[in-house]
């Protein structure tokens, strides 16, 4: 426990803010370096090991007009370029999106337990996916199958319904949003359970979606997911100011110059769009969107200008590493890995956080 004596011996304001200002930059550099290493390792490692040098050479060869001496086989090129690279990039962009959306929902709802799925996105997407599996129609829109399309639509539709319903309910807008999200989520979960009960042989397919994976990643999927997640995340980042204002509550945010109603609607829409794009391509992967923002806040404090970009890096890193581990362990669902890596790390940080950390 920190006492008054500790406070007197604590660093001065100037020392503290100097250290505080260097730290985010150090963390960003370390995080990006780790992400680069993880990306290359994740592409190189697999049932067919490919030397990291060759992995890089194949990527460079494909991307840039350099004439490299070909030291790899055509099969290796297919494995790297068509199978592993889209998968690794999808893990990266989904991890990034979920962490940014999680930070946004936690800040908007002023609730440390909020995650990207809190307003019904997960149950909406899951029900959409289950319906897609059950109806005997096969549609392709660009590279998206019916499952991705319905999961995406289900996620957005459920958030829209939650938002509309909560606006007519009384009480604090944020509390009624949370409660409405919980109620609608329960209803959709019941519908999902019914769909699974009726699904027979298709149960496995629905279940696979619920667990989440990057197995079906393709360049086509990425072409849809990357712009949505990247643009959504950037638009959220330029609204960091709103999330900061909300730290003291909605009315205080208004007094600090934030147009709360408008900004709240915009941020909810952006974070929901990012979440929907992520769950459409990857299924439901928990933990990243909840924990990464907290870990980052413990390291740099609550300023959303720092928390958002660092969470993006952290979410991408955690997801790439988790998917690599999932593949190496013979195809364990990636959501299991994110929890197994994330939970102990989070607990360790909770214990070590010197200033205490109440939820």
């Amino acid at each position: 426990m920190a006492s008054r004596q500790d406070a007197l011996a604590a660093p001065t304001a100037i020392e503290l803010s100097m250290a505080g200002r260097r730290r985010p930059i150090v963390l960003a550099v370390v995080g990006l370096a780790a992400l680069a290493v993880a990306l290359v390792a994740a592409v190189a490692v697999g049932t067919v090991p490919i030397a990291p040098v060759d992995t890089l050479a194949i990527i460079v060869h494909r991307l840039l007009p350099f004439d490299l001496a070909q030291t790899w086989t055509a099969t290796e090129e297919t494995i790297v370029w068509d199978l592993r690279l889209p998968r690794v990039l999808e893990a990266m962009i989904v991890g990034l999106g979920l962490a940014v959306a999680g930070t946004t929902f936690q800040g908007l709802l002023r609730n440390p337990l909020a995650d990207p799925y809190v307003l019904g996105t997960a149950s909406g997407a899951a029900l959409g996916a289950a319906i897609a599996v059950l109806i005997p129609v096969r549609i392709e829109l660009l590279a998206f199958g019916l499952l991705q399309i319905l999961a995406f639509a289900g996620a957005l539709l459920s958030v829209t319904v939650v938002y509309r319903l909560s606006r007519t309910a009384g009480g604090s807008p944020m509390t009624s949003l949370l409660l409405t999200g919980y109620a609608l989520g329960s209803l959709l979960a019941a519908a999902l359970a019914m769909a699974m009960y009726l699904s027979g042989a298709a149960l496995r397919q629905i279940f696979a979606y619920l667990l989440g994976s990057f197995e079906n990643a393709s360049w086509g999927e990425l072409a849809g997911a990357i712009p949505l997640i990247a643009i959504g995340s950037i638009l959220i980042l330029v609204r960091a100011r709103t999330l900061n204002g909300l730290l003291l509550g909605e009315e205080s945010a208004a007094h600090l110059g934030v147009d709360v109603r408008r900004e709240r609607a915009i941020l909810l829409a952006l974070a929901s769009l990012v979440t929907a794009a992520a769950v459409a391509v990857s299924g439901l992967i928990g933990f990243v969107g909840l924990v990464v923002p907290h870990v980052v806040r413990m390291l740099v404090g609550p300023n959303a200008r720092l928390v958002l970009p660092l969470s993006a890096i952290g979410g991408a890193l955690l997801m790439v590493v988790a998917d690599l581990a999932a593949r190496m362990l013979g195809g364990i669902p990636v959501g299991v890995i994110t929890a197994v890596i994330g939970a102990p790390f989070f607990l360790l940080l909770l214990r070590r956080a010197q200033r205490g950390y109440e939820l």
């Binding site: 002023r110 509550g249 009315e251 007094h255 147009d259 200033r355």
Partner: protein
Amino acid sequence: MIPGVVAGGTAREPILSLRGVAAGYGPRTVLRDVDLAIDGGEWVAIVGPNGAGKSTLLRLLTGVLAPTAGTVAVDGRPLATLDRDDIARRIAVVPQPSSLPFAATVESVVALGRLPHEDRFRGLRPADRAAVAAAIERVGLGRLVGRDVRELSLGERQLVLLAVAIAQAAPVIVLDEPTVHLDVRHQFDVMDLLADLNARDGRTIVTVIHDLHLAASRIPRIVVVGDGRIVADGPPGSALSADRVRETFEVDPALLPDGPWSRAAATVRG
């Protein structure tokens, strides 16, 4: 009101004004016929019993509640024509301490006061950081700058919120019962700080306050709100007479500690 025009016998234009204002929530009208003009550099207390409309008056003054009739203006410009940033650069509000969802240091909370001045893309600049450090020193929390606000006492948290308003650098500071959770020493600290901000910086201060004794002994102008109207407005001696206290607050002034109501009561009895 047009700048430069002599109004109400004074050449100065009020920094805050409410004219013919009514307000409420849904079908319920809470305030009506409110006319109030506050000049730059004044220190005004808003007092009144619970439910009389003080908080509604405060929410009108800060633009989070729109009037159903009449106009609320700052610097002669109706609040309805200003966006939130414009209002925040003119009026800072000190709310009552509430809980924070995340751990946050004193410094990072006080930095929120710079939001209305901050660049959307670049965030805090060195001048903003200097203003934050100065505000923290001003309220005497320099030694707690790196501490988590949630570990502080209520009195210290009230000072943090005051520092946010100071960092905001608005000419008007509006406070919602800044002394209500505080022990006597902290009450005096806060009143001294407000007096200093008023006298030395020339900031206009409007504070809702429950403690009539504290208000009468420290604040030069008292606005009494009773049953949705302004029922008295003036120096403590006239605004807080024995009759006024008896009628609006429904207490026997003899039961209160000494104040303007005791002198008036004595006159009445004599």
